[in-house]
């Protein structure tokens, strides 16, 4: 789904292309980073929190297992 949304997003942004004799491609690179920064940053944030959440759940499960093992003893 995210691919399709982005596909449309790209097409809205990219057209039309202007050819300039005095190219300054550096600006285009800055703009690209601004445009994708929000999505890439959000994805990164989710990735980090998701990792932390998984770690937290794993620890919780581990703790429960240990507690269960202690009770059985």
């Amino acid at each position: 789904m995210i691919h399709i949304i982005f596909f449309l997003f790209v097409f809205l942004i990219v057209a039309p292309i202007k050819a300039q004799a005095y190219l300054d491609p550096g600006t285009g690179s800055y703009i690209t980073q601004m445009l994708i920064g929000f999505i890439a940053g959000s994805a990164y944030l989710i990735k980090i929190y998701w990792g932390q959440l998984k770690e937290f759940i794993a620890k919780l499960k581990d703790k429960k297992k240990k507690d269960g093992a202690k009770k059985n003893k």
């Binding site: 691919h3 285009g28 690179s29 690209t32 999505i39 994805a43």
Partner: protein, 462 residues
């Protein structure tokens, strides 16, 4: 102490006013100018430099106080020697991929320590003992919160573009870097990539959208309009993470069907193959070289006879699949002293860049102590119509000694090459081979490889 020895400037070291590389005797020296003082202080005081060297990500630099500094020079570092300089257009897919990942790892560490890479050129990476390592000390600058990554475009042109082309179009396309010294233009990468790549968020962003923006925002009026826009640190880290994930997910070619039995057959019986190996070892023991260039090395089977003795060995082959296989083997078993490279001997890397001096030709990077030319002569002489005199001349240019195998015309491999063409090679005889090579080399040893029709020679340059 004032040294009277002549300092030789590195011709490619002119882009950055922060300093330059020069050579004195056998040492690589890096001069740092006062313009770079603030950044160098941060690089040292933040602990980033020590961390990078410690992790094997940056070539070791030690301050040299013996050399007299000119006015405006704050420090001179003595850098670790790089055994053989290679270029990204000579690397296999995984070599370029690993070089890209190391660059990003360094950038992440730099950001953690309040710095950022201002230069992400693939020429800043070299391979030492099978591993990619960053060589440019002056590529770091203070990170300013809100500022986009200044080397993002360069990184995409030097790494992302060529890697995508190698992965999705053809494994040989990193050779475009030989034409485009500042990296493959993104508009070209965008044009060459299959349309389905528009469906990938990261490829669309880093290549297609990026290429279009380069053209549409080339207008200087728009520059001033966009100067106040800030990119948060999280967004920057997100972009770097996106680049990293994209690279990690790239695979070599569309399928891996050829891999299983690639080049497992030879024209030898097992015993003859072992005898040939023993002979090569015997010849190596006579010369005791410090460097070997195995030209036409395939996947490096014979190169290892040298590298495992601690000899620096460059194993080049025309076939990117064989070189890729060799590199993966080196990586998996942490092999040292072996550098695989993709090289077409009939069109070896030329000198390129400003004044034809920025990147050296293959010949300029020699000569090596020994050249291996095993099971190669027929490919050059018959497939490429090269007279023996020309082959001998090239071997002399690149090596002081030569271990060369003569493959006679009645060998099945030669017959295969002649199967679809007229035999115009009346001079392809062992006599003519010896006659032409003897003009430039002294034949030291000559042995028929048991159970074969082939002969192995050890020759010394005259």
């Amino acid at each position: 102490m004032v040294l009277k020895k002549i300092n030789k400037l590195e011709p490619s070291s002119f882009r950055d006013p922060s300093g330059h590389i020069f050579y004195q005797d056998d040492y690589i020296l890096r001069q740092v100018n006062d313009i770079y003082k603030k950044d160098l202080d941060l690089l040292v005081n933040s602990g980033l430099m020590a961390k990078l060297i410690d992790k094997g990500l940056l070539v070791s630099h030690i301050e040299d106080n013996k050399i007299k500094k000119e006015k405006g020079v704050i420090v001179i570092f003595k850098a670790d020697k790089i055994p053989f300089i290679s270029y990204p257009y000579e690397w296999s897919f995984s070599q370029l991929k690993d070089a890209a990942l190391v660059t990003l790892e360094i950038q992440k560490l730099a950001i953690e320590n309040g710095m950022s890479l201002k230069d992400a050129s693939s020429y800043n990476i070299q391979f030492i003992n099978g591993k990619p390592i960053f060589i440019d000390l002056l590529s770091f600058e203070e990170y300013q919160e809100g500022k986009p990554w200044v080397a993002y475009e360069q990184f995409c042109q030097h790494f992302i573009g060529p890697l995508l082309l190698m992965s999705k179009v053809d494994a040989d396309l990193n050779k475009l870097l030989r034409i485009y010294i500042n990296g493959v233009p993104l508009r070209l990468v965008s044009k060459l990539l299959p349309k389905k790549t528009y469906l990938s968020f990261s490829i669309s962003s880093h290549i297609h959208l990026h290429a279009r923006n380069q053209s549409s925002y080339a207008d200087s009026e728009k520059v001033s309009q966009n100067q106040n826009v800030k990119l948060s640190k999280f967004a920057l880290l997100g972009i770097i993470d996106s680049l990293e994930s994209l690279i990690k997910g790239l695979k070599y070619g569309d399928s891996d069907t050829e891999w299983g039995e690639y080049y497992t057959f030879t024209n030898y019986t097992d015993q003859a193959f072992q005898e040939k190996k023993q002979l090569v070892e015997e010849y190596l023991n006579i010369v005791k070289p410090k460097s070997v260039w195995d030209i036409g090395a395939n996947n490096g089977e014979f190169s290892r006879l040298a590298s495992q003795k601690g000899i620096l060995t460059v194993a080049s082959d025309i076939d990117p699949v064989a070189v890729e296989k060799n590199y993966i083997a080196i990586k998996n078993s942490n092999e040292e002293n072996l550098l695989p490279l993709v090289m077409d001997l009939t069109n070896p890397s030329p000198a390129i860049g400003w004044n034809n001096q920025e990147r050296k030709s293959l010949i300029e990077r020699g000569p090596s102590d020994v050249v291996f030319a095993l099971a190669l002569i027929h490919h050059l002489a018959i497939s490429n119509n090269l007279p023996f005199s020309h082959i001998a001349g090239f071997c002399k240019d690149i090596g002081k000694n030569l271990i060369i195998e003569f493959v006679p015309k009645d060998d099945s491999k030669v017959q295969k090459l002649l199967a679809t063409r007229e035999d115009i090679f009346t001079k392809y005889t062992q006599e003519d081979f010896e006659k032409e090579f003897s003009k430039l080399f002294k034949i030291v040893k000559k042995t028929t490889i048991p159970q074969s029709k082939r002969t192995l020679y050890l020759m010394k340059s005259l």
